[in-house]
């Protein structure tokens, strides 16, 4: 929680990419694979029907059992092409896949022509119906699958990638004890052998094969001094379409996150602050790839997180967890605590029930709840306890990066401080890195090392707590700080009050997004560039303090206090009336 370690953070540079992860296949291939799955399901369904017909001894049963085998073979063939052939990404794989689906289609069209054209006159009504249903598979599934594969033909260029194992990615093994002397010892231990430090070090579980690109060993991932930021975000955008009208057509776009760039250093608490709707939650979720970004890059510990193959993403997911905003809505009311916390463990492959329960109990203990609580349901807990369960859920996977989305906003002050202390202790003991989201400036000031101030989907100022709170360089930050209700009556002061409300993120103002409410612009006689030109994020010296305002040099004690003095007692509710 000390900020000394993070002063002088350099301006975000190009993030170093340590190792590429396997990309998810492009959208058309994913769709084709989905259609393959449907095809297999269809075949198996038919096989089951045929089997039933045989078993129940319906008329013509001998016929049915004979047809069973081709369907099973067909299903197996599709599985083989989908699982084995297509992932090789060879040109011949494309040929095989397209060829086989063409064959399926031809068979289907043949049946269709036979039935419809009356070529198979010996068929009775039932069989004819059955055949048509069967043949429909061609145009409905096999044809689009084939077209999808053809659309993605460039992807079949032979670039096959190796799957990465969990320990290579630097995730702590789940069995790794979270706390206590045992963990402290492993964490403090240097490399077990006298290997050069840039060589991979055996992670506690299993050995590492040395690939073309040296992966980061588990112990180094937790090392504060490892080079580079833990998280690098570059020009990240997330836009949501607005649908409306009878046809649900897109009638607009919410620019929830619109070009955000920042770094989070190892072991630091980076906070995002801003008003409701400015995009904090969306940013946190997009960073974790819980929603796919519209554009921009997220590099976590040297791994580019874009369209990552789910199998490769899984071990990374374990290192990045989220604590949700709402302690009441984020826990499934029908699940006992053991399942709520154990869910993530299960998805990480910890199938052993006992080991999982033990792990769940350990995490409950860490957040200060009783081990016996595992059988209880969320409604049996108070708000603060529920938030602790949310923390336990995140911790169960031994992450090293946690997005804490307003973890204390829904809580009473006395409970809020308990949860803040818990987060503080965990960070200290487990060397966690937090992306801490809040709209409470006092909490942020107390809890963070560096802060990013968000306004309408953009970061307008980034700096250490000292820089930001002592010497705010953006007019919005100045106004935010001035608006904090001060519990100490001795510090009461004249406020600088902003006019109007936050504009809609679906229609952000042109130029500087803050210009409709900016007091500085007003004091400077409404300079034109505020409206015409979007201010770039600039660095102030090499202190790491960054700001996006054309006129930041004009902010001084004098301008601020003059603006505060001239703040009318009753400010207008809206800036300009349309």
């Amino acid at each position: 929680m000390t900020s000394g370690a993070t002063t002088g953070v350099p301006v975000p540079a190009e993030p170093a990419v340590r190792r590429r992860l396997r990309r998810r296949p492009p959208e058309p291939v994913r769709r084709a694979l989905g259609q393959y799955v449907a095809l297999v399901g269809y075949y198996l369904l038919i096989a089951v029907v045929l089997l039933l017909v045989t078993v129940l001894g319906v008329k013509g049963a001998a016929d049915a059992s004979a047809r069973l085998v081709p369907f099973l073979l067909a299903a197996a063939g599709v599985v083989f092409v989908g699982r084995r052939v297509i992932p090789t990404r060879q040109r011949w794989a494309l040929a095989v896949a397209v060829g086989s689906s063409l064959a399926v289609q031809l068979a289907c069209y043949y049946i269709l022509v036979q039935v419809v054209g009356g070529g198979a006159t010996e068929l009775d009504g039932n069989s004819a119906f059955f055949s048509v249903v069967l043949a429909a598979v061609g145009p409905i599934l096999a044809l689009p699958a084939m077209l999808n594969l053809l659309r993605a033909r460039r992807w079949f260029n032979g670039e096959r990638e190796r799957q990465i194992r969990a320990d290579e990615i630097g995730a702590r093994p789940i069995a790794d004890p979270l706390m206590g002397p045992a963990r402290a010892a492993t964490a403090a231990l240097p490399a077990p052998t006298a290997a050069p430090t840039d060589r991979p070090v055996a992670a506690p579980s299993g050995t590492i094969e040395i690939g073309a690109i040296v992966p980061l060993p588990a112990s180094a991932a937790r090392d504060r001094s490892a080079a580079g930021p833990l998280l690098a975000v570059r020009d990240l955008r997330k836009h949501f379409p607005i649908h409306g009208g009878v046809l649900r057509r897109q009638i607009g776009t919410v620019y929830a996150v619109d070009g955000v760039t920042f770094d989070v250093m190892r072991g630091e608490t980076f906070s995002l602050v801003g008003e409701s709707g400015c995009g904090k939650t969306t940013l946190g979720r997009t960073v974790l790839q819980l929603t796919p970004p519209t554009s921009g890059r997220v590099v976590f510990d040297g791994y580019e997180l874009e369209d990552v193959e789910p199998n490769d993403m899984r071990p990374l997911r374990r290192r990045m967890q989220i604590i949700f905003q709402d302690p009441f809505g984020s826990l499934n009311p029908r699940m006992p605590i053991s399942d709520i916390i154990g869910e993530g463990l299960l998805s990480q492959g910890l199938t052993d029930r006992q080991a999982r329960d033990k792990k769940v109990e350990d995490s409950l203990e860490i957040v200060g709840l009783r081990r016996e609580y595992t059988r209880r349901y969320p409604h049996e807990f108070s708000g603060g306890q529920r938030q602790r369960i949310g923390v336990a859920r995140a911790l169960a996977l031994s992450p090293d990066f946690i997005v804490a989305d307003e973890p204390v906003s829904a809580l009473d002050v006395s409970i809020q401080s308990q949860v803040l202390n818990l987060l503080y202790d965990l960070k200290r003991d487990l060397n966690l890195t937090y992306l801490f989201i809040s709209h409470n400036l006092s909490v942020i000031q107390y809890f963070s090392d560096r802060v990013g101030v968000m306004y309408l989907g953009k970061l307008v100022e980034i700096g250490t707590v000292e820089q930001l709170y002592r010497n705010p360089r953006h007019p919005y930050t100045v106004a935010l700080l001035s608006a904090i209700p001060e519990a100490d009556p001795r510090r009461r002061r004249k406020r600088l009050i902003l006019k109007g409300d936050l504009p809609s993120p679906a229609a952000p103002p042109a130029g500087c997004r803050f210009h409709t409410r900016c007091w500085l612009r007003e004091r400077l006689g409404n300079p034109e560039n505020c409206v015409t030109q979007e201010p770039e994020v600039r660095s102030l010296g090499d202190t790491g303090h960054q700001v996006a305002c054309h006129w930041t040099e004009e902010i001084s004690q004098t301008t601020v206090s003059e603006a505060a003095a001239e703040s009318p007692a009753i400010v207008a509710a809206a800036v300009e009336d349309e």
């Binding site: 603060g384 006395s414 202390n421 107390y446 100490d488 009753i570 509710a573």
Partner: protein, 367 residues
Amino acid sequence: MTAAAATTGASTPHSDGDRLLDVRNMQTRFHVMDGVVPAVDGVSFTLDRGRTLGIVGESGSGKSVTALTIMRLLDIPPAEIGAGSEAWFDGRDLLALSESEMRKVRGKDIAMIFQEPLTSLNPVFTVGAQIAEQVQTHLHVRAREAWSRVVEMLRLVGIPSPERRAKQYPHELSGGMRQRVMIAMALSCEPKLLIADEPTTALDVTVQAQILELLKTIQQRTGSALIMITHDLGVIAETVDDVIVMYAGQVVEQGSVADVLLEPRMPYTMGLIESIPTVEKRGGRLSAISGVVPSPFHLPPACRFEPRCPYAWDTCRDRMPDLSVTRDAERHARCHLHVAGAASRLEAAVSQHRQNMRVGRQLTDSV
């Protein structure tokens, strides 16, 4: 506890003729399936004309129920107002008025602003029509006059082009604007008392600053008295003269804002103030109040704060403390630390509090 003992004493230097509201031993219970919830349990306070009073406490401490009881807005049953409860407003006991008399008081003499303006505004009428209706019923004026009053009030609370806004429906306005409409409506009949129940909790910090400034300015301009209910000590410090702190349905501390916030004399208030994260506490843990608020069905028999209190001793488990004058400061506190013979304990608590407020590094003041 006597009414005299519970007045805000030295911090209200007005004579009795200035007294607007005098709540005495108010008790409100709810009969629910699991038993009886003593939501408000013997609350007494006074408020003079033109003064502002804050009610602060955690969720469920009985702040809203106190206000709703005074306004007589609770459904009876499940609510039950205890015998001996009195709420003297301008010489009349509100709790003894008939419903039709009360209807004349509500909106006219006492107005209330709620946390979520959307739920208290009627979605099917324009905001202007809703304010106008209230003006017409209470001030007995004609429609034309009522409408010009509406526009005047909307302009007063900072709503631009009020003529047009008055014809809009609540959902067409932003959260901050709706809260302004609520304030305009509340003030339209020039009430003697305005009760604001968490008026800014649902708003953003910059809009909250606007609304608090607006409330303060208008309160000063119109000279109405104000009761501000909130869980945010910062909002209290900003807006009111006197404050009462509630815990589990009781008043536990009472005095002027500066006294209570700077020199709290009841362990719960101390803990609340210590839990607020501030600059000074950076780089250290916050001193948190342990445990949770007791369930209303299992209240501790003596001091209700005893299970969470770091200074509790035997007496605290035997007897419920009274809300009485403290020995070393100008206010009332409900705590055994203030009885004769506990002086050294009180001293220890006070010095521990001072220490807790000064942990971590110091940062100089912001802009």
